[in-house]
C-alpha cells in the first residue's frame, strides 16, 4: 500500500500502520490481509513523521487495526509528540485491544492529551455487532475498551457505519449510546463508501440512504435531545430533511471527494459533502437545491 505524502493543506493526513485486522467487517472498504507488515510500515512511518511539516494540524493512525502494533503504537505516538507537539493524533481502531485496561493507560501516557480514538460500533446488540464485525467476541471487547478509554479520559469518537444489517436499530442504538456510552465525545453516523466488501457483497450490505434516512433522523434527534454531539458523515444534503442539514459535515477526504453534474446547479454545493470518488455508484435520489 502506497502512502500519500503528508500535506499541510490536506484534511486527511494518515499514517497507515498495517493491513492486518482482528475484525473482518463485512463492509470494509479496505479488506484486511494477513501479512507480516508491521515493522515495514513502522519504519516507514518513523521517516514520515520525521519529515512531516511541523505545524500539521492533525494526523491519523489507520490500518487495518493500529493496535495490532502492540507497544510500537506507543513509541510511534511518542515520536509524533516529540516531533509534532501541536498535532492532534486521531487513531482509528476497533477498540478491542483497550479491553485491557493497562493498554488504555499506556495510550493515555503516550498521548499526553493529544490523542482521540475513533471506534466503530455496529449495533447495540452483541450478535449483530459481531456478525458485522466478522468476529465473535468483538462487541464485548469493544464496549469494555470504550469504558477503559473513558476511564483514562481519552477522547472518543463513536462511528456508526450505516449498512443494511444495522439501519433498523439506529434509534435503539442512539438510546443505548445515551444510556450506556454517554461519555463519548461525539457520535458520527457514516454513509458507506461503495468499494471493497461494501461493493463486492453489496446485496447483503448495501442500502440506499433514502431507505434509512428516517431511522437516521430519529437517532440523530434522540442524541441531540439529550445534548450529545452527533454528526452525519458522507450523506449529501439533498438526501436529508432540511432540519438535519446542521448535523451533516463535509466529511469526505479532499483527495477522494467529488461532485456530479447535477451538483453544479445546486446552491448548497459548497456546504455539501458530495460523494466518494472511489464509490462505484452514486446514491439514488440526488437532486440539486435551486
Amino acid at each position: 500500500m502506497k502512502q500519500r505524502p503528508l500535506d499541510i493543506n490536506s484534511n486527511d493526513n494518515t499514517l497507515f500502520t498495517t493491513e492486518q485486522c482482528n475484525n473482518h467487517c463485512i463492509m470494509c472498504c479496505q479488506p484486511p490481509r494477513k501479512i507480516d507488515d508491521i515493522d515495514y510500515y513502522y519504519q516507514q512511518n518513523i521517516k514520515r513523521v520525521m519529515l512531516a511539516p511541523k505545524d500539521l494540524p492533525h494526523i491519523a493512525l489507520t490500518g487495518g487495526e493500529p493496535t495490532l502494533m502492540g507497544d510500537k503504537l506507543f513509541s510511534l505516538i511518542r515520536l509524533i509528540r516529540e516531533q509534532l507537539p501541536n498535532t492532534d493524533i486521531h487513531i482509528l481502531s476497533n477498540g478491542r485491544k483497550f479491553a485491557d485496561p493497562e493498554y488504555a493507560k499506556q495510550l493515555k501516557l503516550a498521548g499526553e492529551g493529544k490523542v482521540m480514538v475513533g471506534v466503530p460500533l455496529h449495533s447495540d446488540y452483541e450478535k449483530d455487532h459481531d456478525i458485522i464485525a466478522g468476529s465473535k467476541g468483538a462487541y464485548n471487547e469493544t464496549i469494555l475498551g470504550l469504558y477503559n478509554l473513558a476511564i483514562q479520559g481519552i477522547a472518543i469518537e463513536l462511528r456508526i457505519v450505516m449498512n443494511k444489517l444495522n439501519y433498523m436499530r439506529f434509534p435503539q442504538m442512539a438510546s443505548f449510546i445515551h444510556k450506556n456510552l454517554s461519555f463519548v465525545n461525539w457520535t458520527a453516523f457514516m454513509g458507506m463508501e461503495r468499494v471493497g466488501f461494501a461493493d463486492s457483497k453489496s446485496e447483503h450490505i448495501w442500502i440506499e440512504p433514502i431507505e434509512y434516512i428516517d431511522y437516521l433522523c430519529k437517532a440523530v434527534q434522540l442524541l441531540d435531545d439529550f445534548r450529545h454531539e452527533v454528526v452525519i458523515f458522507n450523506i449529501p444534503l439533498c438526501l436529508l430533511p432540511t432540519k438535519y442539514h446542521a448535523f451533516a459535515e463535509r466529511s469526505i477526504s479532499d483527495w477522494k471527494n467529488k461532485y456530479t453534474d447535477c451538483c453544479e446547479q445546486c446552491r448548497l454545493k459548497e456546504q455539501c459533502c458530495g460523494f466518494f470518488a472511489t464509490s462505484t455508484q452514486l446514491y439514488t435520489g440526488i437532486k440539486p437545491f435551486n
Binding site: 452483541e126 464496549i143 443505548f176 454517554s182 445534548r227
Partner: protein, 465 residues
C-alpha cells in the same frame, strides 16, 4: 429460546406495560410482554435484542458486560459518594407571618427563647465540615431566618474561616419570606454570594389568605424586586406550597410566577407537619393535589408552547431519573433516603435532626428523629444506634410494597413520613399517601414521555439540561 432473567420490574400503564431495569431504563411495550419474557416466548426479534442490550435479560448466566451494568448502577447512586451535602441551619422559630399551613410551628417575632445560640452555630458549622462532601450547602431556615442577621453572619464567617484550609465548594442559601430583606441582610448576601429562596403562593388574594396577613403579597413582591436588584435575578428563586385553597387555582398560580419573571416553579404539596396537620383531610387533599398538579402542569406546557421558559421542577427531577443515566440529587426521592445521607439539620434548640420534617415533629414533642446534642462528637451522632436503626428501612429496594414496584428507581424511601402518618418507620404502602401521590405523578410524567413524545420532548429537553 435460552436466556437468563436479570432483575427488572413491570406494571401496566394505560394500554401498555412498562418494564424498568435496575438502573431505571424504561421500555414501553405491549401488554403481555413481561409474561412472554418470563415464559421465553418473545415474538418480536427487535424487542429481544433491545432486552439483551439493555440488561433486562442475558444470553449468558453472568452478563459479559456486568462491569458496565455495575458502573451504571454506581452512577445512579453517586449521591452516596458525595455524602451529606445539604446542611440546614434552623436559626429561629421567630417569624413575621402567620401562615395557615405553617409546617414549622413558627412563633411570634417578639419571643426570645426560640433562637439558636452562637455556641450552637459554632458546633453546627464544625459538624458540617465533618462531612467529606466536596460540595457543602449551608441553608438558613426558620421561622424567618432574616430576623437573625448577626447569627447568619457569624455562621458564614466561621464557615469561610474553616474553609481556608478545608477548600470545599460552599453554597449559601437563605430561605426567607422576603419581607424583612433589610440592607443589612442583603449586604451579607452580596458579600458572600448567598442565594435567596423565597416563598410565594400565587396571586395576591391567595398569598395573603395563606399568610394570614393583609399586605403580605405586596411586601413579598417588593422584597423579590429588591433582592433581584441588589443580587441579580438569577440569585432569587421562589417556592410555592399548595394549601387547600391553592388547589382551586392551578393556572392562576402558574401565571403569577410567569408574570413575576420566574422561569421555574416547584409544584409542592403540603406535608403533614406543624400547623398543616390540623388543616386537612389528607386523603382528600392528596387526590385533589394530584388533579391540581396535572392542571398546573398542562398550563405550564401551554406557556412553553407559546415560547416562554417555565420549568416545573418536580417533573424535571422525575424526567432526569427517567431519561438520563445520571444521578439526580433530590433528597425527597432518594434510596437510601435523604435523611443523614444527604441532609442534616442543626436546630435552634441545640440538637441535630435527621431532616427538616424531623425538627418539625419535635415541635409536636415527637423526638423520634432527634439525633442528639450538637455538643456530642460528630461520630456519636451520625453513626449512632438510632441512625443505624433507620438505615434498615431507608432503602426502597428492601421494603415491602416498594421492592417490587416498577417505579422504584424513580422514587424514594421516607421513614420520617412513614412514622408521622402511619406511626411505623417501615410503613405500609397500600395506604401510604406519599406512595399514592408519587405514583400518580410519576406515572403521569411517564405517560407524557411515551404517549406525547413528539409534542413534549422538545420542551422536556430544555427542562433536563
Amino acid at each position: 429460546m435460552k436466556y437468563y432473567l436479570l432483575p427488572f420490574k413491570f406494571t401496566r400503564l394505560g394500554d401498555h406495560e412498562i418494564l424498568v431495569n435496575e438502573v431505571g431504563d424504561l421500555l414501553y411495550v405491549p401488554i403481555g410482554t413481561a409474561e412472554q419474557i418470563v415464559n421465553r416466548t418473545i415474538e418480536d426479534q427487535e424487542l429481544y435484542k433491545t432486552l439483551v442490550a439493555n440488561f433486562f435479560i442475558s444470553e449468558t448466566r453472568i452478563p459479559a458486560l456486568l462491569d458496565v451494568y455495575a458502573e451504571r448502577l454506581a452512577e445512579k447512586k453517586r449521591f452516596l459518594d458525595d455524602y451529606t451535602a445539604l446542611h440546614i441551619f434552623v436559626l429561629t422559630l421567630r417569624c413575621n407571618q402567620l401562615c395557615v399551613y405553617c409546617q414549622a410551628s413558627s412563633q411570634d417575632e417578639c419571643v426570645s427563647h426560640a433562637t439558636m445560640s452562637m455556641e450552637s452555630m459554632r458546633l453546627a458549622v464544625q459538624h458540617m465540615f465533618k462531612s467529606r462532601s466536596k460540595y457543602l450547602t449551608m441553608e438558613f431556615q426558620g421561622g424567618e431566618p432574616s430576623l437573625e442577621p448577626a447569627l447568619i453572619r457569624y455562621g458564614i464567617e466561621l464557615a469561610e474561616q474553616i474553609n481556608e484550609t478545608e477548600k470545599r465548594h460552599l453554597t449559601y442559601v437563605l430561605c426567607t419570606n422576603s419581607i424583612n430583606l433589610t440592607d443589612e441582610v442583603l449586604g451579607i448576601c452580596t458579600q458572600y454570594n448567598v442565594l435567596i429562596s423565597t416563598s410565594l403562593d400565587g396571586p395576591s388574594f391567595l398569598h395573603n389568605t395563606n399568610r394570614g396577613k393583609q399586605d403580605s403579597y405586596e411586601r413579598v413582591v417588593k422584597g423579590i424586586a429588591k433582592a433581584r436588584e441588589v443580587l441579580g435575578a438569577d440569585r432569587v428563586s421562589a417556592l410555592m406550597t399548595a394549601s387547600e385553597l391553592s388547589l382551586n387555582y392551578p393556572t392562576e398560580i402558574v401565571d403569577e410566577y410567569h408574570k413575576l419573571g420566574f422561569t421555574s416553579i416547584f409544584l409542592r404539596a403540603l406535608n403533614p407537619y406543624g400547623k398543616a396537620t390540623d388543616n386537612a383531610d389528607w386523603e382528600a387533599y392528596t387526590d385533589r393535589f394530584i388533579e391540581f398538579y396535572k392542571q398546573a402542569f398542562e398550563h405550564i406546557i401551554e406557556l412553553n408552547k407559546q415560547g416562554h421558559v417555565m420549568i416545573e421542577e418536580y417533573a424535571a427531577i422525575i424526567l432526569r431519573k427517567l431519561l438520563t443515566p445520571w444521578c439526580t440529587g433530590f433528597v425527597d426521592l432518594q434510596s437510601p433516603a435523604g435523611i443523614v445521607n444527604s441532609v442534616l439539620i442543626y436546630n435552634y434548640d441545640g440538637y441535630m435532626y435527621a431532616s427538616d420534617e424531623s425538627r418539625m415533629l419535635a415541635e409536636e414533642h415527637d423526638y423520634t428523629f432527634q439525633i442528639g446534642k450538637l455538643s456530642e462528637p460528630y461520630e456519636n451522632l451520625v453513626y449512632s444506634h438510632k441512625v443505624k436503626e433507620w438505615a434498615k428501612v431507608w432503602n426502597n429496594e428492601t421494603i415491602a410494597g416498594c421492592s417490587d414496584c416498577a417505579l422504584q428507581a424513580y422514587c424514594g424511601a421516607d421513614p420520617v413520613r412513614n412514622h408521622t402518618t402511619q406511626n411505623d418507620l417501615y410503613g405500609f404502602r397500600p395506604t401510604s399517601l406519599f406512595c399514592k401521590k408519587n405514583k400518580a405523578i410519576i406515572e403521569y410524567i411517564i405517560s407524557c414521555v411515551v404517549d406525547r413524545n413528539e409534542e413534549l420532548m422538545p420542551i422536556f429537553r430544555n427542562w433536563i439540561r
